[in-house]
Symmetry: C2
């Protein structure tokens, strides 16, 4: 008989960690609902063929299939089902199968675990939470949807109190359009260029320049111009003004529509920025960043990343963007959308490591009612009932231990208040209310219990 | 390209259903926290050997194993992992492996999906939510823990507003003790008797009597006495008083300790009932019911069931009890506990079918801000920001549609209020606030927006 160890890659928290984790989860959920996103939840499994339709090679290797454990050796143990590896495939399947039930634009949030059979390594999980929002249009979707996403992000991360953060925003059409101006706008070439540009923050400009020259048809001069373009430095208004100055160059003018894509991207970006400001996002939380490319094959317009200003090493903690077609594998109908995803499990683990989130209590209760005399338990239960009815989370100590040990228990679990009522106090009709943070305690008449407790809690 | 159908046995809800489901889930969670239970969450998977240690034959057949989907034919696709089929095995493993981290008595709640590969049939699910609470002691656990459980149930089901319910309570020692008095207290015989008694409500007394005579050594007279005993009718105090009159019979007195178990059971039941009353549970929500046997092999003391008074056909919607040893498969340490489980997925499906839970809106937002002029979107976003800052869930309509269509959208999704601001109103500094329930609308100055909206919402 040996207690099994934790399973590598499948995180499991102490009650203290879980409480801190759930606080973040609640902030996300509350934020999503504040903006009118409806919750949906899909099964943990999808049909294998649904997952494989969308999965790239990397995802496919990581899929966990469901098999019947009790199948005999000569029986087929397969179920045709597998655990989902993200929430995008399930969303696509959900919307495609329920087109007639849903009201468009369909604003949904979805907070669920997903599973990937990755090689376990630091910061990688096989089971983790994704917290997604998307706005899905029926055939078309207003650009204003793109503006709402950063304001949700701003609201959620402010609620979470995890320090300063910056929402980086760009529009894929700008970079793509600029490449077309440079004459490097073919599909294959621009894919290569964008992958290289995407690494700019990590590897630096000189490495990017070398890579561009080695892997693309860009001349030295054009590579320099591209780098200058994407790294143009300034506040939001300065970058938007700079974008207006970028004109089609001489040698690409014959291409007719060249320049149109860039103009469209700039227009979209400006509209989105103006709306984000109207939605109350302060400028210091927003940064236009032309380097952001993010998944060329999927995103087609606005793209987002979010970084913690004081912890740039964490990378993007929330990413997403605009896409043209959510569910092309499941329906002929065009379903454009825009959305973001927060990978909370990884974020939480980094926030705890960095000391940004404190893990310091294990009880959701504010008050512990001490048990001074086992014969008076019904009195203690009555006190607890009064507090709970007033909306105060309350626990009654149920073991037969000395007060000192009960106070130790209270302090270990993180109660804010301990209510003490010995025989004398019960006879007099009073109670002692102890503030665990300050150590102060005072005797109050029984009728003042709720007020006395609430006044301590109000100072938390 | 065909959109895949839903997977049989894996429930998935419309946004309207999900909102109603989540409201119940929140009531459960809030209730559990009100009583000081700490959240834990375990991975969806456990090692197969952990699950098999506890699983009965029935469970074992239903376990879903995890296999690597991408494994080649000649490769081993097994992971050694499987989806948990309940939350009890994970709890046992959790407590056993974390004895030194946890503070005892350990009060935990756990709300997660579990999976069972059952044959799909009405009311049976392969993926469903369990919502469990348990209080676990280290070597011993106070009887007062047993008293808290029904008060949590009372609180939770009251919050859920699902109509009248009754918490049935008994103590396994009473029935077991009475069987010993009757001379039918051997382990094997009492197991048979209890299974028969457990069917009493379903099959009626005469069938139970026939079954008892056929399957046990009980005489006709003793079978009659047993049936009389378990069906003794009266309110809680009457049954408790009746229990005091039940004395050891002449022919079992030589057995020495016989009668002790019955006395102990009666004492425990009385203590629990007195404490449950002190915890504010009204008598009409409580019923002592001596027929309740529930899982002879696991429960050892107090047992609970809960039924909806107006829907007895649903059966028990929440069951549990006291057990001696949570984690005997994982640790030498004795971990007695008491707990209950709500199977929310099944309960929800029955509540919706019975029309007890209404499924009538799909948005968590109270307010829709209509979009009257696409050029004024930043104004609408500003209005929404003001409402959200005041804590009101708000959506801005982002499509370019006529007001009539926007109002239809609002009514279909279930908004309480629509805020309308055309060019004229924006120029004057006013807004129109429309109460969707009554159809009333009035013009207010911009500064009164939040107050006007809140006064409509306050009447919901």
């Amino acid at each position: 008989m040996t207690a099994p160890m934790q399973i590598s890659g499948f995180p499991e928290y102490t009650p203290e960690e879980q409480l801190a984790f759930n606080r973040l989860l609640d902030a996300i959920r509350k934020g999503y609902e504040r903006f009118g996103f409806s919750a949906i939840e899909t099964p943990a499994v999808e049909r294998q063929e649904s997952l494989l339709a969308k999965a790239g090679d990397e995802n496919e290797k990581q899929i966990y299939a469901l098999a019947r454990l009790a199948a005999k050796d000569n029986e087929d143990d397969s179920t045709g089902l597998a655990l989902h590896f993200d929430l995008t495939v399930p969303l696509a399947r959900y919307v495609a199968t329920r087109q007639d039930q849903l009201t468009f634009p369909f604003r949904r949030y979805q907070i669920q675990k997903v599973w990937r059979g990755e090689r376990p390594q630091a910061g990688r999980f096989r089971e983790f939470y994704q917290c997604d929002i998307d706005i899905i249009g029926n055939e078309q979707l207003s650009l204003f949807a793109d503006a709402e996403i950063p304001s949700v992000i701003y609201h959620v991360f402010s609620e979470m109190s995890i320090g300063r953060f910056k929402i980086r925003i760009s529009n894929r059409k700008i970079l793509q359009g600029y490449l077309e101006l440079l004459g490097a706008g073919t599909e294959e070439e621009s894919r290569t260029v964008l992958q290289i540009v995407d690494s700019l923050e990590k590897v630096g400009t000189s490495k990017v320049r070398t890579d561009l020259l080695a892997a693309t048809s860009l001349t030295d001069e054009k590579a320099a111009r591209l780098i200058e373009f994407v790294t143009y430095d300034g506040d939001t208004d300065a970058i938007l003004a700079y974008l207006d100055t970028v004109q089609p160059t001489q040698d690409s003018e014959e291409a007719g529509e060249v320049g149109e894509r860039l103009k469209e991207g700039v227009y979209e970006l400006k509209t989105v920025v103006a709306s984000v400001r109207a939605l109350g996002v302060p400028d210091e939380y927003l940064a236009v960043d032309l380097r952001i490319a993010r998944g060329l094959d999927y995103y087609t317009g606005t793209v987002y990343e979010t970084v913690l200003v004081d912890h740039p090493g964490l990378g993007s903690i929330c990413s997403g963007g605009r896409y043209d077609n959510l569910a092309e594998y499941f329906t002929e109908k065009k379903l454009p959308g825009v959305g973001i995803s927060i990978g909370l499990t990884r974020l939480f683990s980094r926030l705890v490591q960095a000391g940004i989130v404190s893990v310091d209590r294990s009880t959701p209760s504010q008050v512990l009612v001490a048990a001074m005399n086992e014969m008076r338990m019904t009195d203690y239960f009555g006190i607890a009932n009064e507090l709970r009815t007033a909306g105060v989370n309350t626990e009654v100590y149920i073991d037969n231990k000395r007060l000192g040990q009960q106070l130790k228990y209270a302090s270990r679990k993180g109660f804010d208040v301990v209510v003490i009522a010995g025989d004398d106090e019960l006879a007099k009709g009073t109670l002692t209310v102890k503030d665990m943070a300050s150590g102060d305690q005072k005797e109050v008449v029984r009728g003042d219990l709720v007020t006395a407790v609430q006044s301590i809690l109000a100072n938390r």
